[in-house]
Amino acid sequence: MMTAIRIEFLKWFQTMKVTWSEVFVYRFNFLLMVIGPMLVLFFIKYNVWSSIYQGASGQEINGYTFEEMVSYHLWFMIVSMLSMAYSGQDLAEDIRLGRISSYLIYPINFWQFNTARFLSIECIQVGIVLITLSTTYLGFSHILGEFNPSAFFAGFAISFLVGVFWFTIQYTTGLLAFWFEETWTFRVLFQIIAHFLSGAIIPLDFYPSWLVAILDYSPFPTLAYVPVKIFLGSYTELWKAAFTLLFWIIISAGIAAWVWKRGLKLYTAAGM
């Protein structure tokens, strides 16, 4: 039994190692991976909110001071770094161009291969996040707020679950390449909707209460607003968030398995 587990572990771990090797081949790409999110935060979100607060008469908007707003977006950046690094773009291209044939021959399942890749990217992102947070704490600790270890670890755990959810979504939309030439539209569409409804652009406190009540039945608040609040130490329903995410992960993984089974029947291994 232990041997079987060890063999399985080695398969996953070696796949992760190969993914790391691939990521580190292109040094400039890797550098962009590290500093890209920070640049986006600074040049776009910081400047936009700075202008909004300059135009506002009071010190607060909907209960948020400027510093609190920047803190909210900084923590959202951390959540997104931990949860949205995997892209289904390559997967869709591999299907369209018939490149998944190798994975149908190797004795490892396609979902296992991609999940191992997701986990390896997730590990890199954890490293990048720790570096980003350490440097930010050194210079701008007042924006991040006081370090709260339990909130910090809870935030990481929930962000990982958000990452698993995004992975299943990316994987499923990537698999749509069995039917569609281009699948990025599905991904972008879902991302835009999720950005609006998850609190990634504006905190959900700004939304009408009836809409927030409806969103409570969807996975969206747990994708941005909830993990940010957990990091900030102001959200206590940790288990509710975890179970909500697990529920939606199971649903989307089930859909992915169904799509794979159906799609594979249409696969022609073009170009071989």
């Binding site: 063999i7 081949v25 021959i105």
Partner: protein, 328 residues
């Protein structure tokens, strides 16, 4: 080893006329056509054989390979490979087969071949000691020691094919599928790959199914040929009998001291193949007319050299491909 009965694969495609308006129209209406890429195909391949699948582009060779390996699902018919149904993609089945695609790399592009081998070692559950021995043996046989640690994208086509072969042989598969393994390679590299495959087969008696457009590959490696035309089997038998597809004919070459008139009726009767300055010709002569025609040419034309041989497989293929009705 492989047993197929009534194997059929149907593809549904839509045809779109050229132009913008046709593209616009295709948003609302599409004319679909269903084609049989492989139709009612029966075949049995025994352990230890090397079988060459031959046929023109689009004949169905690769579609057959894809069905044998479980990459695509047959539309109809029964198929059993190593006692498994390939389309079910049982993990034990996948551990016993290998596929090399000459036109598609199966190794990870951005990392050295050795990293890919280590990954495959884990997938195929090969012990470390056995893996190291296997790598040394294969690298030595293929003279690949120098580039195992170079990124795959930086390898030449010949080097890449060597590491592709290494990757597919690491787990000592019982059944190997080679789809155009020498495509695009220079003559030396082609010969190296052929020699390696012949030697490997002699040592291991592994079953190999090969497709290639290079007749030299087929002649050097395959004892048995299966010809596929329009998805159907045109010939299945020993390579020595392949030439009998065209009846009992001989290939005779004549070299002349001066240019000849290719419109002469004598040449046209025997499927003459001329060189560019019409000083050399290859004729396809029925065995019973061999003496008579040769004597006539030697007597009436300025022949400086002539030779006769069995019909080269390449010539048979060309003839069959340009006139498939010959064997229908």
């Amino acid at each position: 080893m492989i047993k197929a009965t009534g194997l059929t694969k149907r593809f549904k495609n839509y045809k779109k006329p050229p132009g913008f308006f046709a593209s616009l129209k295709s948003l609302f209406y599409r004319h679909y056509e269903t084609n049989d890429a492989v139709s009612s195909f029966d075949v049995q391949i025994e352990p230890g054989e090397i079988v060459g699948l031959l046929g023109p582009n689009g004949a169905g060779k690769t579609t057959l390979m894809k069905m044998f390996t479980g990459i695509i699902t047959p539309s109809e018919g029964q198929l059993e490979v190593l006692g498994y149904v390939p389309a079910k993609r049982d993990r034990l089945f996948r551990k016993q087969i290998a596929l090399v695609m000459g036109q598609k790399s199966q190794l990870w592009w951005d990392i050295p071949a050795m990293d890919s081998f280590q990954l495959l070692q884990r997938y195929y559950e090969i012990e470390n000691a056995a893996f190291q021995t296997r790598i040394s043996e294969l690298a030595h046989l293929l003279e690949a020691e120098d580039f195992l640690h170079v990124h795959v994208r930086k390898l030449s086509l010949g080097e890449r094919m060597k590491v592709e072969l290494m990757a597919c042989l690491l787990h000592e598969p019982k059944l190997i599928f080679l789809d155009e393994p020498t495509i695009g390679l220079d003559l030396i590299a082609q010969k190296n790959i052929r020699d390696f495959l012949r030697q490997y087969h002699q040592q291991t008696r592994t079953t190999i199914v090969l497709t290639s457009h290079y007749m030299a590959d087929v002649e050097a490696l395959c004892a048995r040929i299966i010809l596929i035309l329009d998805g159907k089997k045109g010939f299945d038998g020993p390579i020595g009998e392949f030439e009998t597809l065209l009846g009992h004919e001989k290939n005779v070459s004549f070299l002349f001291s001066q240019q000849q008139d290719p419109t002469d009726s004598l040449w046209q009767k025997y499927d003459a193949q001329w060189n560019i300055d019409y000083t050399e010709v290859d004729l396809r002569l029925p065995e019973e007319k061999l003496r008579e025609v040769c004597a006539n040419i030697l007597q009436h034309y300025p022949v400086t050299e002539f030779s006769t041989e069995k019909m080269p497989i390449e010539r048979v293929m060309k003839t069959v491909m340009s006139n498939p009705k010959l064997i229908k």
